[in-house]
C-alpha cells in the first residue's frame, strides 16, 4: 500500500515536471515577411514592425518615416503580449519596390534609399534627424573623421601627458636634490584631455522613405516584374495631430519629484496660498490615442485598442531657452521670468528635506556638479493670474495661455447652506399660496 502511494506520487511529480517543461518551452518562431517601421513620433524616431497578423500600419502625415520589407523570424511573447522579431539571427532584406495605392489607384512607387540618423545631442538624448541619400553618407563620414580626430587627439594627449609627467618628475627630483623652488608660472601646464564628439551618426542603411498627406492607403512590395510579393500587402493609415499648443510641466517647490502637467489651454492651475513653482514649456500636439499608440507600438496587438475616441497630448520639443514666461494680472504683465538652471540641495540633519537653489556654474559649492533641472521660477501670492510663453521676439506662443487661481478655503457649511436656498424659496411659495387660498376661502361676514 505504502509502495503504491509512492508510485502515484512519483508519477504525479513526473507529469507535473513534464507539464512544467512544456510550459517553459520557447515560443514557436515563424519565418515571415514583415515591415520594419521607423516612424517619426513628433519628438523622435520610434521603432516597431508589422508582422503577418497585423494588417494596418499607422504613420504621421507630412513627415519622413522609414519602412523596410524584411524577412525575419517572428514569435509571440505572451508575457508582454507582443510580437517579437529575431533581428539578430534572421534579418534579410526582401528586394523590391514599395507600391502605394489610394482608392485602388497607384499613386507612387518608392525605391529604397540610403539613410541614417544624426543625433546632434548624442545617441542617448533620443532626438535625431533623418538624413537621406548623399547627406547621410556625408554625415557618417564627418562622424568617422571626428572619431578619428578624437583618437588622434587622445594619442597626442597620452604622449603629451607622459612628457608632462616626466618633466614633473625631473622638477620634483631637482627640488629634492637642490632645494630650488619653482613658481606656479614656471611649472609646466598639464595637457588638456580631449573630449569625444557628443553628436553621433548611425550607419547608413537602406529603406523606403514614406512621406504622405493624411489619408488611407494600401501598400505592397513589388518585385522587378511588378508582381506583388506575398504577405506584403498592408493598409496604411496616415494621420495628423488634432491640435497643437504649448504644454507645461509644473514642478511644485514642495514636491519637486512629482511634477504636474498642463497640456490643454482649457486647464486651470489651482493653488492654495502663496506658492513657488518651476515651469518647463514644451511644444505639444494632440493625437488620436488609438492611432498614435498603434504607430509607436504596432508589435503590441492590444496597444491603443478601445481608444478610438480618446485623444492624448504628446510633449514634443522643449521651447528654446530664450523663451520667457509672462505673468499677467487683470490683463497687465506684472512679471516676466526666464529659464535658469536650478540645483536641488539636500538639507543635512535628521529631518529629510531639500531646498531648490539657483545653480551658478562659477560658484565653488557647485564645482563638479550639474544643475538638477532648468526651468522658469514663479513665486505667486494668492490671487488670479494668467501666464503665457513669449519667444525672443516677444511673440506669444500659440496655446500657451493658462489661468492660475488661488482657491479660498471655504467652510463647507456655507456651500451646503447655499444649496438649500431653492427649497427655502419653494417653501415660501407653497406657504404663501396656502395662505392666499385660506384668505380666499374665508366666508364673507357682514
Amino acid at each position: 500500500m505504502r509502495n503504491t502511494n509512492w508510485r502515484v506520487l512519483i508519477t504525479v511529480l513526473c507529469i507535473l515536471t513534464a507539464a512544467a517543461g512544456v510550459q517553459a518551452a520557447p515560443p514557436q518562431r515563424e519565418k515571415q515577411v514583415v515591415y520594419g517601421i521607423t516612424p517619426w513620433t513628433g519628438k523622435e524616431f520610434g521603432g516597431t514592425f508589422a508582422p503577418k497578423g497585423i494588417d494596418t500600419i499607422y504613420l504621421l502625415a507630412n513627415c519622413n518615416n522609414v519602412l523596410n520589407t524584411l524577412e525575419t523570424e517572428v514569435y509571440f511573447w505572451p508575457i508582454t503580449n507582443e510580437y517579437m522579431a529575431n533581428w539578430f539571427e534572421a534579418r534579410e532584406e526582401v528586394p523590391g519596390r514599395l507600391q502605394i495605392l489610394q482608392d485602388g489607384k497607384e499613386i507612387m512607387v518608392l525605391e529604397r534609399q540610403p539613410y541614417n540618423h544624426y543625433y546632434p545631442e548624442g545617441f542617448y538624448s533620443g532626438f535625431s534627424e533623418l538624413l537621406i541619400g548623399e547627406e547621410a553618407e556625408k554625415k557618417l563620414q564627418e562622424y568617422r573623421d571626428a572619431i578619428d580626430s578624437y583618437w588622434q587627439a587622445v594619442s597626442e594627449y597620452r604622449k603629451a601627458y607622459a612628457e608632462y609627467e616626466q618633466r614633473m618628475s625631473e622638477i620634483l627630483r631637482e627640488v629634492t636634490e637642490t632645494g630650488k623652488t619653482y613658481s606656479e608660472d614656471e611649472l609646466p601646464k598639464p595637457p588638456e584631455q580631449p573630449t569625444p564628439p557628443v553628436w553621433y551618426a548611425s550607419q547608413v542603411t537602406e529603406g523606403f522613405i514614406v512621406n504622405l498627406p493624411v489619408g488611407e492607403y494600401l501598400i505592397r512590395t513589388i518585385d522587378e516584374q511588378g508582381n506583388v510579393i506575398e504577405g506584403t500587402e498592408k493598409k496604411l493609415k496616415v494621420f495628423d495631430r488634432r491640435r497643437a499648443g504649448v504644454g507645461y510641466q509644473i514642478i511644485p517647490e514642495s514636491k519637486w519629484t512629482r511634477p504636474v502637467q498642463s497640456d490643454d489651454a482649457t486647464q486651470i492651475l489651482y493653488m492654495e496660498g502663496k506658492r513657488t513653482m518651476y515651469l518647463k514649456a514644451f511644444h505639444a500636439s494632440e493625437y488620436n490615442q488609438h492611432d498614435y499608440l498603434k504607430m509607436t507600438s504596432l508589435e503590441q496587438p492590444l496597444a491603443g485598442e478601445g481608444a478610438t475616441s480618446a485623444y492624448m497630448w504628446v510633449h514634443e520639443k522643449e521651447v528654446p531657452r530664450d523663451t520667457k514666461i509672462q505673468v499677467l494680472r487683470g490683463g497687465e504683465v506684472i512679471y516676466e521670468a526666464e529659464y535658469r538652471p536650478y540645483y536641488v540641495k539636500q538639507t543635512p540633519g535628521y529631518a529629510l528635506g531639500y531646498e531648490i537653489i539657483e545653480f551658478d556654474p562659477e560658484a565653488e559649492e557647485f564645482a563638479g556638479r550639474r544643475p538638477s533641472f532648468e526651468a522658469v521660477k514663479l513665486e505667486l501670492e494668492p490671487g488670479s493670474y494668467e501666464i503665457r510663453a513669449v519667444d525672443s521676439s516677444g511673440r506669444v506662443l500659440e496655446g500657451s495661455v493658462r489661468s492660475i487661481r488661488a482657491v479660498n478655503a471655504v467652510p463647507m457649511w456655507q456651500l451646503y447652506l447655499l444649496s438649500l436656498l431653492p427649497v427655502a424659496v419653494g417653501l415660501v411659495v407653497v406657504i404663501g399660496r396656502r395662505r392666499l387660498r385660506g384668505h380666499a376661502a374665508k366666508p364673507v361676514t357682514a
Binding site: 511644485p252 486651470i268 488670479s384 444649496s419 411659495v429
Partner: protein
C-alpha cells in the same frame, strides 16, 4: 383661425398652465436643492484636492458639478413630463383635450415647451448659485463653464424629448418611468466609464482593462448617437477645439436629435390614440 394659429394657441395655453403648476409646487425646488447638494460633494472633493496637494491642474472644477446638477434637473423634468402624459391619458384628460382644438403635435410640443421653459428658469438659478460658489471658492466662471451652461439647454431639450417619446411609446406610466430611468442611468454610466477608461495611461492599463475598454468603446460608439449625453460630449469637444464648424454641426445634430424624438413621440401618440 388657421391650423398653425390654433396649434400655437393650444401650445401656449397648455404650456402656461403646466409651467404655473410646476412653479407653484414644491417638487422643482426640492430637486434643485438636491441637485446642488449632490454637486457640492464634487465641489468639496475638488477643493479638498487643491488644499491637500497645494497645486492641481484641472478643467474648471465647477463644470462637472454643473453637469450633475443639470442632469438631475433635466431627468426630473423628463420624469414629470412622462408621468403627466400617462396620467392625463389614464384620467381621460387627454381625450377631453383632443375633443377641443388640440392635436398630437400641439400636445407634445406644449409638454416639451413647458419643460424647456421650466428648465431655462432652473438653469438661471443654477448659474446664479454656481456664480456665488465660484466667488466663494475662487474657482472662477470661465468660457468653458458658460459654454457648458449653453449646451445644458440642448441636453435638457433632448432628455425631455426622450422622456416624451417613452411616455407615448410605453403602455403604462410605470413602464415608461422605469425605462427612462434605466436608460438614462445606462447612458450616463457608459459615458462616465468610457471617460475614466480613456483617461487612464495607456502604459499602465492591464490586459483585462484593455478588453473592458474595447467593449465600452464599442457600446459608446453606438450610444453616442442614441444618448443625449453623446450629443453634449460632442458639443463640449467642439467648444474646446474652438472650431465654429464643429460647434454648429454639434448644435445642429443635437437639435435634429430632439426634433426626431419629438416627431417619433407625435407619431406614437397618433398610433396609440388618446383613450385609456
Amino acid at each position: 383661425m388657421s391650423k398653425i394659429r390654433y396649434r400655437t394657441n393650444a401650445i401656449n395655453v397648455i404650456a402656461r398652465r403646466d409651467v404655473s403648476s410646476t412653479v407653484k409646487g414644491l417638487g422643482i425646488y426640492v430637486v434643485a436643492s438636491l441637485a446642488f447638494l449632490v454637486s457640492m460633494l464634487f465641489v468639496r472633493s475638488n477643493l479638498k484636492g487643491v488644499t491637500e496637494n497645494g497645486l492641481m491642474v484641472m478643467v474648471n472644477p465647477l463644470n462637472y458639478p454643473f453637469f450633475i446638477a443639470v442632469t438631475i434637473g433635466a431627468t426630473y423634468l423628463a420624469l414629470t413630463s412622462t408621468m403627466s402624459v400617462s396620467r392625463e391619458r389614464d384620467q381621460g384628460t387627454l381625450e377631453v383635450l383632443f375633443y377641443g382644438p388640440v392635436d398630437s403635435v400641439a400636445y407634445i410640443l406644449a409638454k416639451f415647451v413647458e419643460q424647456l421653459v421650466t428648465f431655462l428658469g432652473l438653469v438661471v438659478v443654477y448659474i446664479i448659485i454656481f456664480f456665488a460658489i465660484s466667488k466663494l471658492t475662487n474657482f472662477g466662471v470661465d468660457a468653458s463653464f458658460l459654454a457648458m451652461a449653453g449646451l445644458s439647454v440642448l441636453l435638457a431639450a433632448s432628455i425631455v424629448a426622450f422622456g416624451l417619446l417613452l411616455s407615448t411609446w410605453c403602455r403604462s406610466a410605470r413602464t415608461s418611468v422605469i425605462l427612462l430611468l434605466v436608460l438614462l442611468v445606462l447612458f450616463l454610466a457608459v459615458d462616465i466609464v468610457a471617460g475614466i477608461l480613456n483617461s487612464l495611461s495607456a502604459k499602465d492599463i492591464s490586459v483585462t482593462l484593455v478588453y473592458i475598454r474595447v467593449a465600452v468603446d464599442m457600446i459608446n460608439r453606438v450610444l453616442q448617437w442614441i444618448s443625449p449625453f453623446g450629443y453634449l460630449n460632442r458639443g463640449i469637444m467642439a467648444i474646446s477645439l474652438r472650431s465654429a464648424r464643429f460647434i454648429l454641426s454639434s448644435i445642429g445634430a443635437s437639435l435634429l436629435y430632439t426634433v426626431v424624438l419629438l416627431a417619433l413621440a407625435i407619431r406614437f401618440l397618433d398610433r396609440r390614440g388618446v383613450r385609456r
